[in-house]
Amino acid sequence: IENSNTYFAFSYKTHQTCNPIPTFTLTPLLLLRVRHQQISRVLQKAVEGSSRNIKERTCFLKESLNFFGLSELLGKKMGSFETDLNLEATELRLGLPGREESDKSSNGTRNCNKRPLSESEPRPDGDDEGPKAASAPKAQIVGWPPIRSYRKNNLQPKKAEAEAASGIYVKVSMDGAPYLRKIDLKVYDAYPELLKALENMFRFTAGEYSEREGYKGSEFAPAYEDKDGDLMLVGDVPWEMFITSCKKLRIMKGSEARGLGYGV
């Protein structure tokens, strides 16, 4: 695990969250580039996100730590979440990429009638076939739940809408530079473009990124401060997660830069 560069695909049988969680997006097929030293960091963020879906995330956390043989980390990182663990309620299965989940849910279109399951007897096997039985993302059923549209829209603060329209601007500082810059993260599609833009803006070269060693071959290391205030190395998390969680960019220099990426 420590040496591999492989992408691991996880698929699991719980219901999937439709809402992106602030720091950790769960999708039925989740691709994780994991890095031995960063596992606890990244997975801890999954746990420390919003209080919603905590059961799901703690189970995922436990399972994945088990999978990686890092269950000793559980004790240190789970803390109070131990009591919330209820593995039976959320069956997780870890599998290799490409495994298809059987789709038990009815199609969520207007023409949908009942589910193919027989309704009149209770499920005998006791595991939660309830809201979590549909493994594939449930298609949006029109008009269900019966909430008027203004109630759905109004829960978004106006600022979020403005942001969506106008881009995600973050400040960029570089150690030693007299003033800061601002860039719009929405303009870029992926890390290489962003890094190139930063390199141009600040006249430096970032070096080569590897998940094991960070940015090698340069005395600079692009880092960012996320929603929790933690300093993270740019490139570790998926791009979508990065642009939603990045609050500030900082191009670190010198010995501090080299130190990042090792240890917790």
Binding site: K55, P131, I141, K159
Partner: protein, 602 residues
């Protein structure tokens, strides 16, 4: 419909004409029958409830006539059940009209656009027949700016306009009302969509003191001219109800409140500092503004809330009868200090972000609660559910006077629903929405039949029921057997077979409004209700197992029923295939002629 009356004539009918008895005798005036009518006129003026008036009008022709002359408020439950001219012909002296248009499921995008329910024909006809009209209440109707202009021009003494869940017009139409209706007391735009045409309608109110008592525009998504609003509030000494939209900032609210301490109903705008004003925003003493409003009994709004500002409302909590926090994403710790002070609260709307713990706090603090609505912060099927059967149980134990509940949750148990049915015998409205479709009892995995059965059995005053979760035909058997007073029933994703619907149609004698979606009821079930459809306001069935053939049979059997088949886009060609939506209602004036392409009338 009596042919005796001459349409439009306000005087009482000629006593010598067309009487059914004793027409030959000539008496000194006043004629005894005429005396009777005069007495009746005076007496009937005290009869306001429309059911009583309807009953009185059936006694005999004389009573029918007199009742028609003295009816000043007309309620039309389905705008297509009768034509405007028929209404104005029968009731010549109307001052107030209430008209309802689309069925409720239209709110959830289940109805094709441009289906109908236009106010135009009504305002055109009433404009000529009712020059003294003072009040119009519309629900789920479509109006244009032109309709509003015509309204302002036609009715000189117009006083109250209430538009609930309406659409089709813009700020231009509002400007017309504001400028033309100098006697306007009430402008209520609850839940109504107003298009932003850029017209500054607030500035269109006349100069000088206004008669405004109620100004409600909380869901109008247009920016408003605040200076004009402030001036309007300042020159409206009778203003009691003010509900602002979210464009109004907290600082602006302060300025309005100090000008209107006599308010009884207040809907705040944004409840937090606005970014536009930023650091330059004066930090007002909001609590003092609230404490100056000594008559405040109803509080709502709290959009874009910054919870730190909530303590400003403490001074009014003790007197609050109604509190609407359903736009405020607050947790239990933020709710508790408020709710503990609201001892007199009767109506509470909250978001499920307060969790079961928050509901327990409500149950402990509000023994007088009559109406509770718990809305989901995350209205999706698979979201985490912060409220559950625990909250429902707590409420049932703490609030025995509960009359109306709307509860969205992700999981529920029969036990909790049964407990509520026993603890809250005064329930009139029970609407439970378990958001996951076909969800059984969370603990026992059984269907929710017993829970809903207990509600209809134990809550003897129940008139409105909305069901959810896994339900078999058994649940409908209960509803049919015990739900004798039920007038409105909403069913979604429930039942096993035609038998379920048959139970309801055969058992619920008072059923007026039945709305069903995505349930396995077919033609046989539909045909079992033929004896009852004339008594109903409407029947809605969407995505069920109906066929065109079955609907045609109903149309044939009941000629006064308008049987509409609505189709969604892409499904236009349905020769004898499944029916998307069946919407049917009785009508005295036959099928309407303003249908769009997606509507077929059989």
């Amino acid at each position: 419909m009596s042919e005796d009356d001459e349409p439009g004539r306000p005087q009482p009918p000629d006593p010598g004409s067309k009487k059914t008895r004793n027409c030959a005798a000539v008496h000194p005036s006043p004629h005894p029958d005429r005396v009777l009518e005069i007495v009746l006129e005076h007496v009937l003026q005290f009869l306001t409830a429309r059911r009583d008036r309807n009953a009185a009008s059936l006694v005999c022709k004389s009573w029918y006539r007199t009742e028609a002359l003295t009816r000043s408020h007309v309620f039309i439950g389905n705008c297509y059940s009768v034509s405007p001219s028929r209404v104005t012909a029968r009731f010549p002296r109307v001052r107030s009209v209430a008209i309802k248009g689309r069925p409720r499921f239209a709110d959830f995008n289940l109805m094709p656009l441009n289906w109908g329910a236009h106010f135009g024909p009504w305002v055109a006809t009433m404009g000529k027949a009712y020059p003294w009209l003072e009040r119009v209440y519309l629900k789920r109707m479509s109006l244009t700016d032109r309709d509003l202009c015509l309204l302002g021009d036609s009715f000189v003494g117009f006083k109250e306009l209430e538009l609930v869940c309406c659409d089709g017009f813009g700020t231009g139409g509002l400007a017309a009302i504001a400028s033309k209706c100098s006697q306007l007391r009430v402008l209520d735009l609850s839940d109504t969509e107003v298009m932003n045409d850029g017209v500054d309608w607030i500035s269109c109110f006349p100069e000088g003191e206004t008669c405004l008592e109620s100004l409600i525009f909380d869901y109008v998504e247009c920016p408003i001219n605040f200076e004009a609003l402030e001036s309007l509030v300042a020159r409206s000494p009778a203003l009691k109800k003010l509900r602002l939209n979210r464009e109004v900032s907290l600082g602006q609210l302060y300025r309005l409140m100090v000008r209107a301490p006599q308010l009884t109903h207040l809907g705040t705008g944004a409840f937090g500092p606005s970014e536009a004003q930023g650091a330059s925003d004066q930090e007002y003493d909001y609590a003092s503004a609230f404490s100056a409003c000594k008559s405040l009994v109803c509080l709502s709004g709290f959009r874009e809330i910054v919870p730190e500002y909530l303590p400003a409302i403490y001074p009014v909590c003790a007197n609050l009868v109604s509190l609407n926090l359903s736009h405020a994403n607050i947790n239990v710790e933020q709710l508790k200090p408020i709710i503990c002070q609201c001892r007199k609260l009767q109506v509470l709307w909250v978001l499920d972000s307060v969790c079961d713990e928050g509901l327990k706090a409500v149950a402990a603090a509000c023994p007088d609660l009559r109406e509770l609505r718990v809305f989901p912060f995350d209205p999706q099927e698979d979201a985490e559910g912060p409220v559950s059967e625990v909250g429902l149980q707590a409420i049932s134990e703490g609030c025995p006077k509960l009359e109306s509940i709307l509860y969205f949750c992700q999981r529920m148990t029969n036990a909790a629903v049964i407990a509520m049915s026993k603890n809250c015998p005064d329930l009139v409205v029970f609407r439970l929405c378990i958001m996951g479709r076909h969800q059984p009892d969370y603990v026992t995995r059984e269907p929710m039949d017993e829970g809903f059965g207990a509600i209809v059995m134990n809550c003897k005053k129940l008139t409105r029921l909305a069901t959810s979760g896994l339900m078999t035909d058994r649940a409908f058997a209960y509803i049919g057997k015990y739900g004798k007073l039920v007038r409105t029933l909403s069913v979604a994703f429930a039942g096993d077979s035609d038998t379920g619907l048959k139970y309801v149609l055969e058992g619920c004698h008072n059923l007026q409004k039945l709305e069903i979606r995505d349930s396995p009821f077919g033609d046989a079930a539909l045909l079992s209700g033929l004896h009852h459809y004339y008594n109903m306001r409407f029947l809605w069935m969407s995505s069920c197992h109906l066929s065109r053939q079955g609907c045609r049979e109903v149309a044939r059997a009941l000629p006064r029923l308008v049987v509409e088949l609505l189709s969604y886009e892409g499904n236009e060609k349905m020769d004898d295939g499944a029916v998307d939506v069946l919407y049917m209602y009785r009508s005295l004036d036959g099928p309407r002629n303003d249908t769009s392409e997606s509507v077929t009338i059989l």
